[in-house]
């Protein structure tokens, strides 16, 4: 389910919910508001509650201890701080534990930097609402910084950081230790509770001229002010008047609560995107549960042409909706797996084919700008790497190049970026950058563009890790400037890898026409098929062309990452692998 590109493929797929494993990625073209909505929201993110405590705060009051309060900020990409909220003031304590929790949405694909500033609130302000306090009138006790991911990957989900206080005055730019702050993060329970339902309908009406209808369901919630927000959509079942859809997974968080009013609409799929409404019902999850227990069907209704919404002006249909299954379960979330010690391991492969242009010339895609402005390859590495490095404990990353001749060798389609013949790992994102720049000096660009060897190498690392009992999921980033020459071999390698704990992100740089590459991304075409007739058992490839720099915006590369938690969960859940916290 493509997250990043707002184009219109995959109209018949089920969207939303939390664990749409083995959906039927039928190729179809339609433009769909639901899809765009869900795409823009992506991975059903988790709500995190932060609780704070501190120790050893500085004592600034003369006759008593400090009266501390914390202000929580997030740091944006451009460095500006945005206030998220404030705790209450704890009176007379240098080791306070604050009660007020701060809620924040966890976004896997961006580095969420948090800043905590502790203030001593003066007695004269104690009757003032904390939100109204002017911070410059309070005593600053110190500040601490960390990223949200740093907290989430810890087994106890607690991180203690030093509070620093920068004195800008006569003591120079000197940081003093001003105690410690401990941040504890808790994923809210509603992120984890999932309802699984199997819905079916009977006696649907004919909408197509020459065949039965092609029905699908859209479930939406009604929010304050009457706005309707789609939450989930089933797959399209072709030519069927008593359809039974694949299980729908809804997390309570997506819906709001079990008593939240939902509209379930049944549409007839039309490839032009104008789906006809067959009928609808309005029920909450609690109602649907009752319906399931009673084994009764609920008649669909359709608003009649005059007026809208008024119950008197609707027509009740013979068609009925059944709830064949309704179960409530607590599912492990992506964050549970992280806390349980699972890791994402980052690997990178860089295209050194001649079509990139001579790296010494400024028009080359590999040109290293002396001013330090990153080229497209460097940008893709750092944007993906800076996010993924938090989830990789040893921060040693396999790095390869392909499509070039290393010194005195024949063209290699998978050589170690660091120039070594023994080990392929480099230290940190910085290590990848250094290896990349040294490789540019040491290899001569050639061709053709083959992905097969690199993907097979990555797959063998993933399967070796399984053999060693590793609890790892691998992410291979391939950056390329052209279309693959070995399309069938690449497909074969991807199909084989779809059974392994591996996802592949392909970033296209430069101005080439990448139309053919989109075949590899199952969101945009059908399921990948190998030359032997094996089909990819799940979608593991995401492709995105990196064209223009959009300053400040979340980049397309980061949007790619948003899909990873879902791919990770699909792998773990189908195999019933538990996080074992």
């Amino acid at each position: 389910m493509g997250n990043c590109c707002s184009d219109d493929a995959g109209g018949r797929m089920a969207v939303g919910g939390t664990a749409a494993s083995h959906a039927n990625p039928n190729a179809a073209t339609s433009n769909d508001a639901v899809e765009n909505f869900l795409r823009s929201h992506g991975y059903p993110f988790s709500q995190i509650e932060l609780s704070l405590s501190a120790s050893g705060l500085r004592d600034r009051d003369v006759f008593s201890k400090s009266d501390p309060m914390v202000v929580i900020y997030t740091k944006e990409r451009d460095g500006t701080l945005v206030e998220l909220g404030r705790t209450e003031v704890v009176l007379n304590s240098i080791n306070p534990t604050w009660i007020t929790k701060q809620t924040i949405a966890f976004h896997f694909e961006v580095v969420q930097t948090l800043v905590f500033r502790v203030y001593d609130v003066d007695t004269q302000f104690h009757n003032v609402d904390v939100k109204m306090l002017k911070l410059d009138e309070q005593q600053f006790l110190g500040e601490g910084t960390c990223t949200l991911s740093e907290i989430m990957i810890r087994q106890d989900r607690s991180l203690t950081i030093d509070l620093l206080h920068r004195e800008e005055s006569n003591r120079g730019n000197h940081s003093r230790n001003c105690g410690k702050i401990t941040v504890h993060a808790e994923e809210s329970a509603s992120s984890k509770t999932t309802i699984e339902m199997i819905l079916s309908c009977s006696d649907l009406e004919y909408k197509d001229l020459f065949s039965r209808s092609d029905p699908f369901l859209v479930i939406s919630k009604i929010v304050e002010g009457g706005a309707v927000i789609p939450v989930c959509k089933t797959e399209v079942i072709k030519n069927e008047l008593k359809p039974k859809w694949n299980p729908i997974f809804l997390s309570i968080q997506q819906v709001g609560s079990k008593d939240q009013g939902l509209i379930i609409e049944c549409f007839n799929f039309n490839s032009n995107g104008k789906h006809d409404l067959i009928g609808k019902v309005e029920k909450s999850l609690a109602d649907l549960e009752k319906l399931h227990r009673s084994k009764q069907g609920e008649n669909l209704f359709i608003p009649s042409s005059v007026g809208h919404g008024h119950p008197l002006e609707t027509k009740v249909l013979k068609s009925r909706l059944f709830v064949d299954k309704f179960t409530e379960s607590v599912q492990h979330t992506f964050l549970d797996y992280l806390a349980g010690g699972f890791e994402l391991n980052f690997m990178v492969a860089i295209d050194f084919t001649a079509s990139n242009g001579n790296p010494r010339l400024p028009d080359s895609l590999h040109y290293i700008d002396p001013s330090g402005r990153p080229n497209a390859y460097q940008r893709a590495i750092s944007e993906v790497g800076e996010v993924l490095k938090f989830y990789d404990t040893d921060k040693r990353f396999p790095a390869w190049g392909f499509g070039a001749r290393p010194i005195d060798g024949p063209v290699s389609h998978c050589f170690y970026l660091n120039g070594s013949s023994h080990y392929y790992e480099v230290e940190g994102i910085h290590g990848i950058m250094m290896a990349y720049m040294s490789a540019l000096r040491n290899v001569s660009l050639a061709g053709p563009t083959l992905f097969g060897p690199v993907i097979s190498y990555a797959a063998s690392i993933a399967s070796q890790s399984l053999a060693n009992g590793g609890r790892k999921y691998f992410v291979l980033l391939i950056i390329t400037d052209g279309v693959v020459t070995d399309l069938q071999e690449t497909k074969d390698a991807i199909v084989k890898a779809s059974d392994l704990p591996l996802s592949i992100l392909i970033v296209g740089v430069g101005g080439a026409d990448f139309k053919e590459m989109e075949i590899l991304d199952a969101d945009k075409g059908g399921r990948l098929e190998s030359s032997t007739g094996r089909v990819a058992s799940r979608d593991i490839v995401q492709f995105v062309p990196l064209r223009d720099v959009h300053g400040g915006q979340v980049s397309v590369v980061q949007a790619l990452l948003a899909e990873l938690p879902t791919q990770f969960l699909t792998y773990m859940r189908t195999r019933d692998i538990k996080p074992n916290v």
Binding site: N24, E196, G470, G533
Partner: protein, 183 residues
Amino acid sequence: MEKYCHPPSRTVEITILSGEDLRIDRRSIQKNAFVVVRCDANNFRTTEMDGEGGSYPKWNERLILDLPAHAQAVTLEVHCKTAFGNKVVGTASVPVSDFVGGYVPESYLHFLSYRLRDSRGVRNGIINISVKMKDPAAPQYSFSASASAAEQTTVGVPVGRSDNGVGVVTGVPVWCAYNSRNF
């Protein structure tokens, strides 16, 4: 790749999960599709008929077969019972190398999908299965892999209509599962 030393025949557990977009003469099938899994001419197992999935049937049925040491492939045949008798919807051949060999632990749970082709060789739908080698009689291998539940004793418990269409409940990781640390 290393060469495995096979015992004369080994046990393989094949779960037939589901089919997608199955047709007979270009028309979507309505019901009564079933699958025959064949290791050789006389060594085969058959699933129940699917009653309600139409052209997207779901079986979720676990079949245990003896895999002869010489077997190169396992054949999947999707049949459909119609008013005019049994018809073969399509077949697919599963190379044994897709689930044996390589680096992954022997008892890794593989999720595999194959393109079906009808008797004329025309593409016709997809079949999804999961495959797991049962441990050989003497448990002489020593992988401590996460996904390799050493459940040598459990045989042939039919997997009930499993929920999300893929959930076969074998292969629980060894580091045992307490589900309950949720708040």
